[in-house]
């Protein structure tokens, strides 16, 4: 039951935007095209970061790319996303980021002051996250070919002592913790694009490094940390569906316990979106053994930025591979992962 993934074929005739949205289409692309050709016959569940042994030393490594429009938005910019996103990928693999390298693909015609602002933002975010930017590369492409700027990163780090993350170690009864309110980043971006003419005060991206919070948890609960994930594109629902699939168990989510800011909720209701499908850039999900769950939660709540951490669910034996949500009056629904980009609806 645990860890054996069904074979997925990638037969789509062309690449669509949905392949980058973090949901099912993305999964199909990665598992159906990239994995068999690049990763051989490995049956390990795919994570964002890889832990390798190099000359006897354990090194964690990750790569990521950042494409966002608009480049700047309340709470951050593409530069910060790039640094924090990479640090977070390593953190949820159980590693402390040490260094990043960065590549920029720049569109000809991009004003230099915009580039400078992003580079400054990256430097600041790196200092904040205690990570070194060790090198990089730059390419310039013709006007119209790069949406102003694309950033890719690669990061390396050392494993955090005591943490051993594996979907296969997840057991029924394990608790699901969420570090804080969801939906802030995705809704901020949607509003910042200006196409839907919604305004909201006091809403900004939640981009931040989650490493300090994960280390705080590891300080008291390391042996009990089974699995971590940062719910970026595709949201909490997609991450929990991946968890359910990778470990072959069921996840029961207590929907009333999931923290969502009023303003995010209002925007989602207005547009017909589900906060569980919206991207986050500064949160993580942790699956913790029940005997460690309270200690982990307290450690988070007592750390800066962790005061809204909450237990939102638990692992169940059945139904296998499925995320279910329940509400205060006993209604149950299955919650699927995102198909393509979340689209506003009127019906």
């Amino acid at each position: 039951m645990n860890g054996v993934l069904p074979k997925i074929r990638f037969r789509d005739p062309q690449i669509e935007m949905s392949h980058g949205a973090g949901g099912k289409a993305s999964r199909r692309l990665v598992e159906g095209l990239f994995a068999p050709l690049l990763f051989g016959d490995s049956t390990e569940p795919l994570g964002d970061a890889a832990h390798l042994i190099v000359d006897g030393a354990r090194i964690a490594m990750t790569a990521d790319s950042f494409v966002v429009k608009p480049l700047r938005f309340p709470g951050g910019s593409i530069g910060e996303l790039a640094v924090n996103g990479t640090v977070n990928d390593l953190a949820v693999s159980g590693a402390r980021a040490q260094a990043l390298v960065v590549t920029y693909v720049l569109e000809a015609g991009l004003p230099s002051e915009i580039l400078e602002a992003e580079v400054r933002a990256m430097a600041k975010a790196a200092a904040c996250a205690s990570v070194v930017i060790a090198g990089g590369d730059t390419k310039v492409v013709e006007h119209g070919k790069a949406d102003s700027m694309y950033i890719t990163t690669a990061g390396i780090g050392r494993p955090i002592p005591g943490i051993n993350i594996a979907a296969a170690s997840v057991r029924p009864g394990d608790k699901v913790l969420l570090s804080g309110p969801i939906g802030d980043h995705g809704i901020t971006i949607l509003l910042a694009r200006g196409e839907l003419e919604l305004e909201a005060d006091a809403l900004c991206s939640d981009t931040r490094s989650v490493l300090p919070l994960i280390e705080a948890m590891a300080g008291v609960a390391a042996p009990g940390i089974r699995w971590l994930r940062d719910p970026t594109r595709g949201g909490v629902a997609t991450s929990l569906n991946e968890l359910a699939r990778d470990c072959g168990l069921g996840v029961m989510l207590w929907e009333d316990a999931v923290p969502v800011r009023d303003v995010v909720r209002g925007a989602c209701e207005l547009l017909g979106l589900d906060p569980l499908h919206i991207a986050n850039e500064g949160q993580f999900i942790a699956v913790i053994a029940p005997e460690y769950a309270d200690a982990a939660l307290q450690a988070l709540r007592q750390s800066p930025g962790g005061s809204e951490a909450v237990i939102v669910g638990e692992m169940r034996e059945e139904p296998s591979g499925t995320l279910l949500g329940t509400n205060g009056y006993g209604g149950v629904r299955a919650i699927d992962m995102l198909v393509g980009d979340p689209l506003p609806r009127i019906c």
Partner: protein
């Protein structure tokens, strides 16, 4: 056809009688109130918004009335059953 959200009118525009600004828990949008021209909303009114148009005003009184009905559900019946259990007075016998 169906996604319509209650929103509060927070601003009207004297020069543009068809436009209003509404708010839903901190999210604001301009909407068209042209479909309510027979009884336009005032600031503070709640309206039902669908595809950027106000479809109807929301009656707080009716909403409270409905909630009361729901809360009372079963209570009248429960009271009646209790009284019947005492064997007092006439109860409807066999319908």
């Amino acid at each position: 056809m169906c996604l319509a959200i209650p929103a509060k009118v927070i601003e009207l525009f004297p020069g543009e009688r068809n436009r209003a600004m509404v708010e839903v828990t901190g999210v604001r949008r301009h909407i068209d109130i042209g479909l309510l021209e027979d009884d336009p909303p005032v600031k503070g009114d709640w309206v039902l918004v669908h595809v950027g148009f106000a479809m109807s005003k929301i009656s707080e009184e009716q909403a409270l009335d409905q909630l009361n009905t729901l809360i009372m559900l079963g209570e009248n019946e429960a009271a009646l059953e209790e009284v019947q259990g005492y064997g007092l007075g006439e109860t409807s016998s066999g319908t």
